[in-house]
């Protein structure tokens, strides 16, 4: 059941522990907002794409990037047309004039968008959700919260399936689901009602099952899997922090 973005693999990024990867992501996100101009964000994006490349997940990265391409395009269009600081015309298409200042702003926003995505994908594409949550629980996150995070991921496809069954059941009783907006709105409660109820009932039943497996116990939990932190983890963390400090220092000096 592929319901997470995780791409299985054995690259150095995959084998890096989740906390180090969280650090990389945070560094990427901070630098995204700290680095000025156009060149530096572009370099940041290139660097992260190289990193993702070594993890062997570029195919999924392109898919995600393509998914938000429309947003990037609207940046260019909107800012190019109506940005307050527009002064220098750059491109004319019929009645529409795109201005240089706006287009450049659109470019900066696009870089920001893709840098944010790339930073988070470093973590998400290479880490199994259960491993991520487990490393947080080891460090003090209450395991109930950890459970909720994971369970939500697993529950989504289950709820999608339940919604399908419920729709089938109601259609079989003569309820129309296709047609005008009004028709669809009328179908809302007969569909949402059972979905919510069945989810609540399933939740209660699961809570019962978890209760008898000691979920509520206050003992300190142990872990089935050994946490393996590779030897290169610390060098990577130090390098990431160094880059972060450089970036911040550079920004401070340049302003």
């Amino acid at each position: 059941m592929q319901n997470t973005l995780y791409v299985p693999g054995n690259s150095w990024v995959h084998r890096l522990d989740p906390v180090s990867k969280i650090l990389l992501t945070v560094v990427g996100l901070v630098l995204t907002f700290v680095l000025p101009g156009h060149l530096l964000p572009a370099l940041l994006l290139a660097a992260m794409l190289v990193l993702l490349g070594t993890a062997g997940v570029l195919r999924r990265v392109w898919a995600v990037f393509a998914g938000v391409a429309l947003i990037a395009i609207t940046f260019f269009v909107v800012q190019g047309l109506v940005y307050a600081g527009n002064a220098t015309p750059a491109l004319t298409l019929g009645p529409l004039t795109f201005y240089r200042e706006g287009l450049l702003l659109g470019l900066r926003l696009t870089f920001r968008l893709y840098n944010i995505l790339a930073s988070t994908l470093i973590l998400i594409l290479t880490t199994r959700p259960s491993d991520l949550v487990e490393s947080l629980v080891r460090r003090g996150l209450p395991s109930r919260f950890g459970y909720v995070i994971i369970a939500v991921l697993q529950i989504i496809p289950i709820m999608v399936e339940a919604a399908g069954r419920i729709t089938d059941a109601q259609r079989s009783r003569g309820m129309e689901t296709e047609g005008s907006l009004w028709v669809r709105m009328r179908a809302f409660i007969p569909l949402m009602g059972p979905l919510v109820t069945s989810s609540l009932i399933a939740t209660e039943e699961r809570a019962l099952a978890l209760e008898v497996r000691g979920f509520a116990s206050n003992r300190k939990p142990t872990f089935l899997n050994d946490e393996t932190i590779p030897s290169y983890a610390w060098p990577v963390r130090i390098a990431a922090l160094a880059v972060l400090l450089l970036g911040i220092a550079g920004r401070v000096m340049l302003s």
Partner: protein
Amino acid sequence: MSVIKVENLRYRYPRQTELALDGISFTVEPGEFVGIVGPNKAGKSTLCQALVGLVPHFYKGAIGGRVEVAGLDVHATPVAEVSRKAGIVFQSPFTQMSGAKFSVYEEVAFGLERAGIPREEMLRRIEWALRLLGLWELRDRNPFALSGGQMQRLAIASVLVMQPEVLILDEPTSQLDPAGTSEVFAAVTDLCRQGMTVVMAEHKVDRIAARADKVLVLDRGQVLAWGPPGVVFSREGLEGRGVAVPPVTVAARELGWQEPGGTYPVTVEAAVRIGGAALGRDQG
């Protein structure tokens, strides 16, 4: 030393006026397989849950009497602790999957991790339980990708790794096909043979009659009958109270095919023996 002792158990759910359990008393010896049968709303599920403390700790409500399981006073002990001695398996295989683990192997580990069991011990118990339930080959599969029967066996394995003394099953084969039902009954019988005490609430009386050492018949929260299947199912008036009786027993009663002790056969094998003899006589 009985492993389960129930004395005059009475229980009422919150916001209800009637008693769900009305004066239940029985004892179970170690290694016994006890079946609980009766019509719907007789209190079968409630009794199962009372044996692990979900009633009253999870459901609240008013309780009276005494329930002792593996030496623990269930009313005075937290559910997490009782469930280390008495494991319970429910009707729906699906909602017993924790949803937190992505493989059968890790799913079984869930309760062990919560209980703080050391890692080497964990690995040993997981392999033991999975092999016992015939799930070792499926250990890398996602729990939600299993069949109903397999999922139910996984639920049993998850409970078994806690090494309880008692295994309670509340209508575990209700949603399974005949093959899945056979899997569960075979697994449970196997465990019993290895010394586990089993209490199972069921509608499939023919299977219970064939496997159980004792049967507890409930109706409207009270004990209607208690004893070996041959004795219990031979009693008059069960069907009038909505309690199912194995078809061979009903037939035997109609035809007067009795065991030497005066009871009627409750399994096909016994009915063949008695009936064969009776027919031989009639035609000889």
